[in-house]
Symmetry: C2
Subunit: 401 residues, 2 copies
């Protein structure tokens, strides 16, 4: 019988795993409408002023501010209404002293005008307006280039794109953005007992669950899942899978422990090196990381909840580093109050699935072999090795699944 | 000149808007791999026990617990090793009293056995094992149906599907899930000054920004965006757009104010009814909601930051109700410390874009006409009408864009 050596503390395993992965350097052009949630790989510089012309920021009248310098309640200035300008009009006459143009918000300010007064601040006559105070040059104008100027950096390289970023690119007329490619994560499922969905289940067989949960985790962390054929319990088949894939990282579930048919570690040893095997994460002890050539190989336990746990706390940060989304503000954390005291064996990094109801987190762990431990959960809490108890009523951070 | 009547308080407008939208009833079948983040529209009931057989939960030896009832340190019980069972093996002999089968985790427990003892708890001889204490029936077993039983509810109707849910469906061999369709949200952009991306920009023209930011908001809130052709400033074109779309809700940007070319309200009045026009949200006052037949029409201001603000605080909750994701735990909120005091005009619902750095939120608002107000922000804070000041150093909740 083989056995694990000393288990590696989870924090150390995570550190080694994060050191082993590299951010993706490959780039691709994406249509603007497809770039939401992607990471831009170029510095986007504005080729133009936005807006490209000075415009009215209110509905009102445009005029030359000098005409109003002597205006007062007692001696109102009258300006002749000469024209009307709507947004989008381009054939705009020059404004002369003593004249005013009616103008809509966004309308281009005519040559000769340098201020706008809103409707509510004037007296309107059939052919003229009356102004009762001096108006400063620049009033109610949106100046050419006030949003962006030629040469301004619109988006910094490495930005994870949200709606506002997409809008900024649109406003300078950009139709494509160069972004980092998503890392490709291969999913290998090993085990003679694994049946594909769609096949009928023989005695002693279980359906492949892990490739589906892993696909979900991979897409949530910015990667693309690539399914490998289910490999049977043979070193040759595992080696074949390791050699044939061009994914950025290969993951296997099942066969990562120390039983006689736990062959992933043998396959990695034959072709490359094992970085760690056996980690203090609970559930999830039979976790291993290795390297075959340039390819990283992460072996995760076959039990569904153990697999999803290791995928969440170890694989997800690795993919987020590869997809360059790791330094962005994480939005899958919520605070809750623990509704019952939880304990953990000292030295193990315990991951506890919880369901959140009205701000209270309640544990729902049924067993690591059991997928309903996770399907009944909204997320999970983590108890690092140094923490052996969290008391009911304490505030905790839940990572949402 | 037309004018807004009394502005509607934002909270009241939001309430009316939420009452006006209905959750989508249409359903569609999705492949399991496509169902992540979707809302299941059926109650998923297990047709089988999971696991479908009682199995070993540890690597060890299976036997009949009655054989060990007299075992002690002084008088160890010897069991003859008769066979070896791996996970996935189906042709398993019956175990007789006095015998033991070597078994791997996940291996099917043979008829005649009712317990497993792990390797580390026995003495192994070439053809037999020695046990030094009575072992209880059921030890180290994963019982048939311990995860799910025939008839158990695996997923409740209305669940927003995460990785654990997808895994639970996979474990019962389900390849498709019936989910609610995504609501279709039409985007109409009005204004003679709007140029399409890809076209060259004439004097007095600006690129269409809002349809891109709205697409992003719609897809983030569980909807599908449908682009309408850009409509020029004509009531007929707007009416044509209103009549021709089969979307669940129509949105327009630009033309929602009270200027002479703000024609959305006229088009809605001609064909249906206006629910509100003019809201105390800042930026975003020229917002209107109407109904034409069964179709809701939301008019939003054309200024990019006003538009994205109204889309975030009003349209997004509406779509989340339609897509049935509204009651799920929201994960786009993060806590931060305000780095400067912010003030708001009493009575207006102020939305302030902020950038978060090291847990501190700093305002980045440049103006509502300016998209960089939002592209420089990570998210925004909201100051409802009753709040006129939040002091530097206070903890605030930021809604991420």
């Amino acid at each position: 019988m083989r056995a694990f050596g000393k288990l590696m503390p989870f924090e150390e395993a995570l550190k080694l795993a994060m050191e082993a992965v590299k951010p993706i350097g490959r780039k691709e052009k994406l249509k603007l409408g497809e770039a939401l949630g992607r990471v831009i790989s170029e510095e986007l510089i504005s080729p133009m002023n936005v807006p490209g012309y000075t415009r009215a920021s209110m509905d009102g009248y445009a005029f030359n501010s000098a005409d109003t310098s002597a205006a007062s309640e007692e001696s109102k200035v009258s300006l002749r209404i000469k024209a009307e300008i709507f947004a989008g009009e381009t054939d705009i006459p020059v404004l002369s002293s003593g004249e005013t143009f009616k103008i809509a918000t966004g309308g281009m300010i005519p040559e000769g005008a340098d201020a706008v007064i809103p409707f509510e601040d004037i007296e309107e006559r059939p052919d003229s307006i009356l102004i009762d105070k001096p108006i400063e040059a620049g009033s109610c104008l949106g100046l050419e280039g006030e949003d962006m100027k030629i040469g301004d950096t619109v988006l910094k390289k490495g930005t994870l794109l949200h709606a506002g970023h997409i809008g900024a690119a649109a406003s300078i007329g950009v139709s494509e953005l160069e972004c980092y490619e998503k890392p490709v994560v291969a999913i290998g499922v090993s085990g003679d007992e694994i049946a594909k969905i769609g096949e009928s289940l023989g005695p002693g067989e279980v359906y492949d669950t892990n490739s589906y949960t892993l696909s979900a985790v991979i897409s949530r962390s910015g990667g693309v899942a690539e399914r490998l054929p289910i490999v049977r319990d043979s070193v040759e088949q595992i080696e074949e899978a390791l050699s044939s894939s061009n994914a950025d990282i290969l993951t296997f579930t099942g066969g990562s422990s120390v039983g006689e048919r736990d062959l992933i570690v043998d396959a990695i040893r034959n072709l490359g090196e094992v970085i760690f095997h056996g980690v203090t994460v609970k559930p999830g002890k039979p976790t291993l990381l290795g390297k075959v050539g340039d390819k990283l190989v992460l072996g995760m336990p076959g039990y569904p909840t153990s697999c999803l746990t290791v995928a969440s706390v170890l694989l997800m940060p690795m993919i987020r580093k590869m997809s360059r989304t790791e330094n962005n503000i994480s939005s899958n954390l919520v605070e809750a109050t623990l509704s019952e005291t939880v304990t953990s064996k000292p030295g193990s990094h315990q991951v506890i699935p919880v369901k959140i109801t009205d701000g209270y987190a309640k544990t729902v762990f049924k067993g690591s072999s059991v997928i309903t431990s996770m399907s009944n959960a909204d997320g999970y809490i983590e108890m690092p090795g140094g923490i052996s108890e969290i008391k009911a009523g304490e505030k905790i951070i839940v990572t949402l699944l």
